[in-house]
């Protein structure tokens, strides 16, 4: 693996940080916003026996968390490849 130039390293780190930032916004949205702050409004919507806000707080947020981590894993694998950092 050829060592990255300082400019490339900064670019890699910036892309990683932007990706994290986006995913953390979703993380915050499904837990703190949907699950707690907007729970009363969402509870007006029903999904079968679940009130939607309650569902986010006790089920939905957890499923989204899993999806976020695996999305991050995939996106980072692509980023590593792009910068030639995936070699063993």
């Amino acid at each position: 693996m050829t060592p990255l130039t300082p400019v490339q390293r900064a670019a890699y780190w910036r892309r990683n940080r932007n990706l994290m930032m986006k995913l953390m916004v979703i993380w915050f949205l499904v837990s703190f916003i949907f699950g707690i702050l907007l729970v009363d409004q969402l509870n007006l919507i029903r999904w079968g026996g679940y009130k939607l806000g309650f569902w986010f707080a006790q089920q939905g947020s957890i499923y989204v968390f899993i999806a976020l981590i695996f999305y991050y894993v995939r996106a980072m694998r692509k980023l590593d490849k792009e910068f030639g950092l995936d070699a063993e």
């Binding site: 390293r9 953390m24 079968g48 009130k51 006790q58 968390f65 899993i66 981590i69 695996f70 950092l85």
Partner: protein, 569 residues
């Protein structure tokens, strides 16, 4: 075979399995002892992390906390908090610490902040939070034994100590990893099987996560609506909407558990066992998958078992059951003190009400929901035996992970890196075994003579991890400007203010006579309860560290390149 025999058989088999694994997975080097050689498959490590993480509290107490104490919706703080932390762990902590490629959490803090003082402060935080945590696990082992196998608490605790001693001292992280994988399989089976049965009985849907949103058998009433209705009729608050104190308190509580999770050393060191930084990310994802199987089942168990209890006690509105005719499981659990009834109005019937002057179910312990769940739902004996083995697996696996975090901090950070740098590899391996043995005995002693603070331990462990360790790690990775003075001041302030608030409410070291400033009242800081205070301590830690760093000399150039190095995979 009667229940006791089946339970002995199931628990005995699970223990034999752990011992076989221990003999097979001996550690021969410090690398194997601390990080299992660093070659664990990320999926396998995810499973081991799940067992490491899910403690006696998750397995035995959490569903009851949600279903009873926190009355449904309020319990969401545990569900979101204890899973959302893995997102932070996967993105902000684990891959970078894995890239750094050392053995312990204080080691990173000591190196990054170029200071033995920072290393020692980190060891102090680690030991404080891990020791308080491990006492709870030892108690869990003793309690599970005494309830299911009808031995004394002491015998149960000794047996648990011998098992942990065997595979933790012999195998270190390597032995612990493989036993944790086996323990995960035992505990998740034990948790989901009764949940599937009870969901089938109540809703006809075998998947508890779907059953919770389904209609009840033989009708078109939704389960949650029925539960809301029954609770309102008996004077309780609605299950699906009741807050834990306030919206702000729930936000703080969830945030504290999330960042506490991402700062717990015994969880972080599990990610040192995989080959690469990218594997650490993947492993965190798998850990959350395995954890989520239990954490999405728990709210179903909580609501369904609560409904079952309510309906057993009062099959139809205003016709409570006659106390003399109460089911057998009721009497069994009364003997353990987890249930207690008192016929206050003398009508021979059991009224379970929210109003304490009318309520006749005077004790309903949170743990009953999971422990007695199979009996309440009239499930076969082997299911009850399985729950016993599962509870023990949960407690043993977490205890082992914590003991490793403690012993490696002592043998590696204090001896090798600070006080005896010339110690040989063989000498350090022996020292780590010795430290592990000491930690097992220490934890056993504290389990036998639980200090007053045992009850509040989990809250304290999360508060400490959140307010001291997590900020130091994140700032160490994401900023090159934080100095050693800033980090040390930040850790001590975060730790100090969290201890101050918790002890102000509960007494110093949880001795209730040692409370101070009681004039401030309960939850005086914006209505936030002590268990939810970790995020405030963490916020202060960040502020202090940034402020102090701004006025102290910036870190040496070697630290700049260290930080830049860990940012690349």
């Amino acid at each position: 075979m009667d229940l006791a025999q089946i339970t002995y058989l199931v628990v005995g088999c699970s223990f034999a399995l752990y011992i076989v694994i221990a003999i097979w997975a001996r550690a021969d080097s410090t690398q194997e002892f601390y990080v299992a050689g660093g070659g664990i498959n990320p999926v396998a490590n995810g499973m081991a992390t799940a067992a490491d993480w899910m403690s006696a509290a998750s397995f035995i107490s959490m569903a009851g906390l949600i279903g009873i104490s926190y009355n449904g919706y309020g319990g969401s703080v545990f569900l979101m908090g204890w899973t959302g932390g893995y997102v932070i762990l996967a993105m902000l902590v684990a891959p970078y610490l894995r890239k750094y490629g050392k053995f312990t959490v204080p080691e990173f803090i000591g190196d990054r902040y170029y200071s033995d003082a920072a290393r020692v402060v980190a060891v102090l935080c680690l030991v404080l939070c891990s020791v308080t945590y491990v006492i709870g696990q030892m108690k869990g082992i003793g309690v599970a034994f005494s309830r299911f196998l009808e031995t004394d608490y002491e015998t149960g605790l000794y047996t648990g100590m011998v098992i942990v001693f065997f595979y933790a001292v012999l195998g270190g992280m390597k032995g612990i990893t493989y036993t944790q994988i086996a323990q995960y399989v035992v505990l998740i089976t034990a948790y989901t099987v009764p949940a599937i049965f009870i969901s089938l009985q109540l809703t006809g849907n075998p998947i508890p996560q779907l059953g919770l949103g389904s209609t009840l058998q033989g009708g078109d009433t939704y389960l949650l609506d029925k539960l809301d209705q029954i609770l309102l009729d008996t004077g309780f608050k609605e299950y699906t909407t009741t807050l834990r104190y306030s919206t702000l308190n729930m936000v703080a509580f969830t945030a504290s558990l999330m960042i506490g999770t991402a700062g717990l050393p015994h969880v972080i060191i599990r990610f040192f066992t995989v080959p690469k930084a990218s594997d650490a990310r993947r492993s965190a994802g798998w850990a959350l998958v395995f954890i989520a199987i239990l954490y999405t089942t728990a709210p179903a168990v909580a609501a369904m078992a609560r409904l079952n209890i309510m309906q057993t006690i009062e099959p139809a509105p205003n016709s409570p059951m006659t106390i003399a005719d109460r089911p057998e499981w009721f009497k069994t659990w009364e003997q353990t003190g987890l249930l207690a009834i008192e016929d206050k109005n003398g009508d021979g019937k059991l009224q379970y009400r929210a109003d304490p002057t009318e309520n006749e179910l005077v004790t309903l312990d949170n743990d009953i929901l999971v422990l007695a769940n199979p009996e309440i739902a009239r499930l076969p004996n082997w299911v009850i035996a399985l729950v016993a083995a599962g509870g023990l697996a949960a407690a043993l696996s977490t205890a082992a992970g914590l003991l490793l975090a403690i012993s490696s901090a002592i043998s590696h950070d204090l001896l090798k890196r600070t006080f005896m740098p010339s110690i040989s590899e063989r000498g350090e391996l022996n020292a780590s075994r010795g430290a592990m043995a000491l930690a097992v005995f220490g934890a056993g002693y504290l389990g036998l003579n639980p200090p007053g603070f045992a009850a509040g331990t989990v809250a304290l462990a999360f508060g400490l991890a959140a307010s001291s360790i997590f900020p130091a790690l994140v700032m160490g990775i994401f900023s090159t400007r934080i100095t050693r003075e800033g980090a040390i001041a930040g850790m001590l302030c975060g730790l100090g203010v969290t201890l101050f608030y918790v002890f102000q409410h509960k007494g110093i070291m949880f001795v209730s006579d040692w409370r101070y400033l009681t004039g401030l009242g309960e939850r005086w800081f914006f209505g936030i309860e002590p268990n939810a205070f970790g995020c405030i301590g963490a916020g202060l830690n960040f502020l202090v560290a940034i402020a102090v760093s701004a006025v102290t000399r910036e870190p040496p150039a070697s630290i700049q390149s260290l930080v830049e190095g860990i940012r690349l995979p």
